[in-house]
Structure formats: C-alpha cells, structure tokens
Amino acid sequence: MAARQFDIAVIGGGPCGIVAATYAAGGGRKVCLIDRKPSPGHPVRCGEAIGLKGFASTVELKPEWIQSKISYMKLVSPSGITVTVPNSYEGYVVDRERMEKDLTTDAVARGAEFIADTSIVSVSSRNGDGYECRSRDSVIHAQCVILAEGVESRLARNLGWSTSLSLRDIHSCAFARIAHDGVEPGTCVFYLGVKRAPGGYVWVFHRGGNTANVGLGVLGESCQKGMPRTLLEDFIREKFPGARVSDLHCGGVPMGRWIRPLVRGGVMLAGDAAHMMNCVSGAGIAYALYSGKIAGTVAAQSFVNGKCRPEMLGSYQDQWASFYGKQQDRSHAIKEVMVGFPDVFLDDVARSATKNCARKMSILSIFVKAFYKRPLLLLKVVRLLR
C-alpha cells in the first residue's frame, strides 16, 4: 500500500482538529485533516452552548450560526427551588453542524486536505522518520501528528499515553432536541439532584423558536447500564409532555485533569482527547478551539528545513497551561468537592439565593452563605483551591 506523505496529520475533525488543521496549513505546511465521519459536524453530540469569550482569538463567530442568545441562567435545586440570574457574560446556543462545516471549508481554503470517511486504527513511530497512520485501506506518513480524536483518545494509547478515564472522571450523557411550547426563550436551565442525574445535572438550552437541546450527564461512578437514556426520557415526559423529540444521541464528557505531558516526540494531544474541559460546566468547545489553534500554530513553526523539530513543540503545553489549563485545574478542584454535595446542601444554596435576591448577589456570596452552616465542607473547598 503506497503511503501518502504530509508534513502534519491531524486526526479527528471536531472543532479542535479543524482549527488545528487551519492554523497548521496557514503556517505553510502540507496538512491533512482526517475524520471517520462522512461529513463534518454530524451527528451533533453537544448542547451547543458557548460564551462569546470562548471564540475570542480563535475563530470569528458568524451570525448565521447563532440559534439563540442566552440572557438568563436558571438553576433548579433538587427540591424544586428555582434561582434565576441574568447571564453575566455574552453567550449563545449555536448550530454546531453548520459551524463545523463552515470551519472545515475554511481549513480547506487555507490548503488543508480533508479526508473524510476514514477511521485511523493505529499510529506508530517510524523510528526517527515521523509517524505512520493506518486505516483499513490507506496509509499516511507525517512528520508531526496532532491527535484530536475526542473523548475516546485511543490512538494516544498507541504512543505511550494512558488516557483511559476513571469512572470518577467521566460523565455519561444522553441528549435530544425537543420542540415544545414550554421551552423558555433565551434561557439555559440546569436541574440538580441525585434523582434526576446522580453526580451530574440535567440541562435545557433554548435553541430558537420553541425548540431546545435537552440533555443530562451522570457521573460514571453513579451510572448503571442505560441510566442516562432512561433518566432523559423520564425528564422529557415530566417537564415537556407530548414534546416532539428528535436527534436522540449519547456521548461521554471527560471530567478529570488535562493530560500531562501534551507532547511526546512529534505527537501532540488536544481538545477532548487531552481531557481538556471545564469540569464544572462540562463546556469543552472553547478549550477545543483554543488548544487546536495553539497546537496547529506551534506544529507549523516547528519545521526547520522541511523537518519537524520535536523539541520545538514544547511551547504548546506552556501556552495551554498558562491560560485555560489553569482555569481547568480550578474547575476540577471545585468539581471534586461538588461531587460530595448532598441534595440538602444544594437546596440550602438555592434557598439563600432566592431569599437574598440573586440579582444583587454574586454566585460566590450565595455559596459562602450556604457554606456558613457547613464549615467542614468549606474547609475542604479552601484546601482544594489552594
């Protein structure tokens, strides 16, 4: 089988890989972007919510992607106490399929070759002469490889990383689109509580008109066979009886620490494949876009006289660690404590928030009030945040 030659091979055409390929090709290298799916962005396994900040310095948000502008965040505690706060930052629910299609078109316009419908089964080192990526019926050789394969992160294991997630560090999710007149416009609603989603939460994100993305995540440790799907169906039946339901899909969200190191030899890990995630909100699109951008840029810059110099890839990890990496470390510490929050505590938080008029209070002061009754828990949080 004749191997095709590239400078940089990007495996995985989600938001991370697409942007990585765009920047790598923009840096003047010969780049391919490989995805198992026949066309970009489908099916969508995502709530599609992202803050404007999440696009900052990576891609320009196109107005035609926007399905809904999020003006309110609403939290429903286990016993049903509701806290509504105006959204303090600019956020949207976007059409991710359209976004990924447009971004892929941009990557190709910059010179990257998009190879669809191709599942890479192994990646191996060619002993000092780059890497070999194999699918069932093709072989690709590249000096540098960016692994953006999403949560499964299996190819990384071929190359010495241990990326298998513990059940404490994964949310098992089910999700669907619904059409129902009870959907609240411009609002993201979160439902908490062990009965609705053990170790996780249910979310309802308005997606234009009377439609919404509805999904839930259950902590792996608390999950049992098929639980997310059953809980989601129960939730929709209870809150949106008679809703038209489409696009029922499932997925996993990594909720641990980001993988260290991010680079081995000429291979870089990025996006979900590197477990990059805000561990409190479960938001990963912004991290995927950002890590893709820096990985692609650094990869292109590492070429000297047509050869990749792996020692020059290290700045990728430094840039990641000093920006979103730090943020993720904090969110992970908070998640670790939140997993232990009993339902009564969450009810307390909600109660003090409604009593004190949430509009005038920060989320932090709400938590401080609730912690006041549980000093031991507060100690635990402080210790973790240090």
Binding site: V121, S172, G220, K225, M227, C250
Partner: protein
C-alpha cells in the same frame, strides 16, 4: 465477556474512553477484543444507551460482534 447490541449502539465511544486495557475498537462499527478484555464491566456501566452487556460462559470469540 462483553457483547454489543448493534441496534442500540450510537457509536459515541464513551465505552472506549473508560476501557482500561484498550480492548474496544470503534471503526466502521464497535468490536471488542475478547482476548484483551479483563471483564471489569466499566464499559457496560457507562454506556449511556445500555448497548453493552456482560454475558457469562460464552465461548471465546463470541464477544466480537
């Protein structure tokens, strides 16, 4: 021994993400290498759609479906 119900599998790779011994491969479809599988049951627990089942006493190779 783990078997996949192809009808229920949505190819989301959550099971691949948690398998400690890399026994699950998602290619055109999902396959489980019964030679590698150590029967820990993690994949069946986290599959959001309940598409994986632990089956006892199957002959070797029966889990490759």
């Amino acid at each position: 021994m783990i078997v996949v119900d192809k009808q229920s599998c949505d190819q989301c790779a959550t099971c691949v993400a948690v398998c400690p011994v890399d026994a699950i491969l998602l290619d055109e479809r999902l396959t489980i290498d019964s030679g590698k599988c150590i029967g820990c049951g993690r994949c069946a627990r986290v599959c959001p759609f309940g598409a994986l089942s632990e089956v006892c006493g199957q002959p070797a190779g029966a889990g490759k479906e």
